[in-house]
Symmetry: C2
């Protein structure tokens, strides 16, 4: 069969095409609020905090809000089946530290941030502002945010 | 400013538009293999199994592979900080049961399944085959799968 090649009427409502919409999405359009704890919080308290805040990842920061570590639900589950007393282990013992933390900025393209989540096999990463003093945490980008972005593309289509 | 309305050259490689691609994606194009345990497995063993298989959700099935329950990393973490011996609690005590389990079929549109994950606030659900005998588990659909689908749309764009 002959391939359909040619000109298609784009229409008034489609001046922003779905392709444009997809490639122009930024992290800032979909990011969530970060949930931050201090490095001296116990693992037990961190687990309770994760349930209270209903998130899958906690970020660890110093008093200047500079990124020190990341705690995933998986990290906490691994520790919870160990033999140590969860009330005696501070989170800085088990957290992922720099330079092993993947992060993004609010002006990054969402598609690039999504690739980073998949490549690094993580559910969430901090959205940061790199300053001379340190890496400041300003947001949280998760696979939930990317899933919502995916759904939003279909809603553009329905216009 | 006058809106950009008119005809745009679609090009040889774009006969399948991004909109068509998005709206036609099916669960079967992105689903993963399910990881299934029996209802008598202990919570401790289920946690170990989750780490070994590197998944965030386990499905519980009977000997006919019919769906009985779902265990998330969150369910296991909640139980692990309790006072009970994890080696003495079988997973059927803590699992989510029918009719509270969200599921989808392999021929469902991915966009509808993604909406279900968001609406139900879950990371993963079983892909099933509804038979007269019961609900057979044939796959697993996660926010990771949806994130990969989102990335795949950008790759269509790059063609």
């Amino acid at each position: 069969a002959r391939p359909r090649v040619g000109y298609f009427y784009a229409g008034k409502k489609n001046t922003l095409t779905l392709t444009d919409a997809l490639m122009n999405l930024k992290v800032k359009d979909f990011q969530s609020m970060p949930v931050i704890v201090s490095e001296n919080m116990t693992v037990y308290d961190a687990i309770c905090h994760m349930f209270l805040e209903d998130v899958g990842t906690l970020f660890v920061a110093d008093q200047n809000n500079y990124l020190q570590g990341v705690l995933s639900r998986k990290d906490l589950l691994r520790t919870s089946i160990g033999t140590q007393d969860l009330n005696k282990i501070p989170v800085h013992i088990i957290m992922t530290r720099m330079p092993n933390i993947a992060y993004c900025t609010k002006s990054d393209f969402l598609i690039e941030a999504a690739k980073k989540l998949i490549d690094r096999e993580i559910d969430s990463m901090p959205v940061v502002n790199e300053t001379v003093g340190g890496v400041e945490i300003i947001g949280r980008l998760t696979k939930t945010n990317v899933t919502k972005a995916f759904i939003s593309l279909a809603q553009i289509h329905e216009l």
